[in-house]
């Protein structure tokens, strides 16, 4: 075993893990305010990436990304307002099927708009062949962008939830919806906000990762499965645990190349998902009591 190669894999694992974490956090934000899993979360990532690629032919990269994030946030808000807001006390199952429907709808719309072509943004700095050497490990600058932006998203979300009124209101809604309404918090606005936030961070993740992984109309599905696995692995609703779980899954996947052909990489995440659901549905970091209170 070559130690440098080992670190090379670790870095690759962290990169993918960071993206999985962001997708999982998107799941968690919506789960916390609504109690449902939004299966269209992966599509937010795809739409963010695709829109940015299209906009990049008209605008410089930073503006294209910014606009793509804003457009996806608006799309997130519209989806909530059109499909979810008017439902009166919907059952969890009904909400989940609605989000699956939305995900199919978005995928087909993307196919119609952008076709089957695989696209990608250019590298933010340097090109696909440039690399930095950190302690003998060769790292693409885009990898640093992915890890850096993921870290910024996590820190910014934490600050948002801890120190701003809307952030606290969203947590209050997650903690006790009726009590939040009795404090004058509009629960339905908080749900819209949670879709906007999830769409925004999903889109940003889609933009930074697209130079490495590329993006296509159906690339959201795979990411959604990984993100969902990570959310379950960390414990649904727990965003900090999702970061740890995302890194674990990313590194496991990356190291699996040693023992299995690359084609079987996805088996790792599916097996972990099934194993967790069978053995410890509350997740690695979730408590039993918290899990027993969950509707889903």
């Amino acid at each position: 075993m070559n130690i440098e190669l080992f670190f090379q894999y670790i870095v690759a694992g962290i990169t993918y893990g960071a993206i999985y974490s962001i997708v999982a956090i998107g799941f968690n934000i919506i789960y916390n305010t609504t109690g449902i899993i939004n299966f269209a979360q992966g599509e937010f990532v795809m739409i963010g990436g695709m829109t940015a690629v299209t906009l990049h032919s008209f605008f410089p990269l930073p503006y294209a990304i910014l606009l793509a994030v804003i457009i996806t946030m608006i799309a997130g808000a519209l989806i909530e307002i059109i499909f979810i807001r008017w439902l009166v006390n919907p059952s969890v199952l009904r909400m989940i099927i609605i989000t699956i429907g939305i995900s199919i709808l978005l995928r087909e719309a993307a196919l119609y708009i952008w076709g089957e072509k695989v696209r990608g943004l250019p590298y933010f700095t340097g090109t696909s062949v440039s690399s930095l050497s950190i302690g003998g490990v060769h790292v693409s600058p885009q990898v640093l962008w992915v890890i850096g932006i993921s870290a910024v998203i996590v820190v910014a979300l934490n600050l948002f939830f801890s120190y701003t009124m809307p952030g606290r209101q969203m947590r209050a809604c997650a903690s006790n919806r009726d009590a939040a309404r009795l404090c004058g918090v509009s629960a339905s606005n908080m749900i819209t906000l949670s879709f906007v936030l999830s769409a925004g961070i999903g889109a940003l993740a889609g933009c930074v990762v697209s130079p490495i992984t590329y993006v296509q109309y159906e690339s959201g599905t795979g990411l959604a499965i990984k993100g969902f696995t990570v959310a379950i692995l960390g414990g649904l609703g727990n965003s900090m645990a999702a970061v740890a779980a995302g890194l674990i899954l990313g590194i496991l996947e990356s190291l699996s190349i040693w023992v299995m052909p690359t084609a079987y990489k996805d088996v790792i995440s599916i097996s972990i998902l099934l194993l967790m659901l069978f053995v410890k549905p509350s997740g690695l970091f979730g408590s039993k009591e918290a899990a027993s209170l969950k509707e889903f």
Partner: protein
């Protein structure tokens, strides 16, 4: 301040409240006493907007609150301290209070006045940074009342503040409710603990299986035979025989 006429309310096909008419004047404590399942909580939840009415009208400050969702009713100045406290257990004491002040913030009151709450409940200041879920029952009740007070309501409704608390703590909570009235607040207090509630209230209503069966000043109700037998645990007839 609050005037309710012929209110009928319930869940689905189940009618819990029938033809309820009550009123609350500014500056008084009005209590609604009754046994488990009489509909006390449904009544408060109907006023707060959490339960939809079947018919009747609720006038708060001469405004009809029927059409409004709970979050709007709070803005009108009618706060509910819900049954079972319902604090945000995963958030700190201070954050709970800040959320209570959201209504005030929207009314363009930039300063969050935590100190006035801390002066009523000094223990909350000590626990400021603790998660609300780790507080004792009595402390959580104080936090729930404090959170409602942060909105500077014209009317504060309390649903069973004595529930599950030790007698000494109940006494403390009721002293605070009395103090709130003496400072000019209006309180609508729903209680199973009839003796304690009538002890501080100006007036009271007795609710039985969804109907108001008795109303009057606290003194009248306290000396009423039926009230004594049913809610105060005294049976005058048998006492007289001895």
């Amino acid at each position: 301040m609050l005037k309710i006429k012929n209110l009928e309310s319930g869940y689905g096909k189940l009618k819990v409240l029938r033809k309820i008419s009550i009123h609350v004047n500014p500056g008084e404590i009005v209590t609604i006493i009754g046994a488990n399942g009489a509909g006390k909580t449904t009544l408060l939840n109907s006023i707060a907007g959490l339960v939809r009415l079947k018919s009747g009208e609720i006038l708060f400050d001469k405004q009809d609150v029927l059409k409004f969702p709970p979050e709007k009713i709070v803005f009108m100045g009618c706060s509910l301290v819900p049954e079972g406290r319902q604090v945000f257990s995963t958030m700190t004491v201070k954050e709970n209070l800040i959320l209570g002040a959201y209504v005030q913030q929207r009314r363009k009151q930039r300063v969050i006045d935590l100190e006035s709450i801390y002066s009523i409940f000094p223990v909350l200041k000590e626990r400021e940074k603790q998660l609300a879920g780790t507080l004792s029952g009595g402390e959580q009740q104080m936090l729930a009342i404090g959170r409602a007070l942060m909105a500077k309501p014209k009317l504060i409704m309390m649903d069973e503040p004595s529930m599950g608390l030790a007698p000494l703590i109940v006494k403390e909570i009721f002293n605070i409710v009395k103090r709130l009235r003496d400072e000019g607040n209006t309180v609508l207090l729903v209680e199973q603990n009839a003796k304690a509630a009538l002890g501080i209230a100006n007036r009271g209503y007795v609710l039985e299986t969804g109907r108001i069966v008795l109303e009057g000043s606290s003194e009248d109700l306290l000396s009423n035979r039926d009230v004594q037998r049913a809610y105060l645990g005294r049976d005058l007839d048998s006492e007289m025989k001895i």
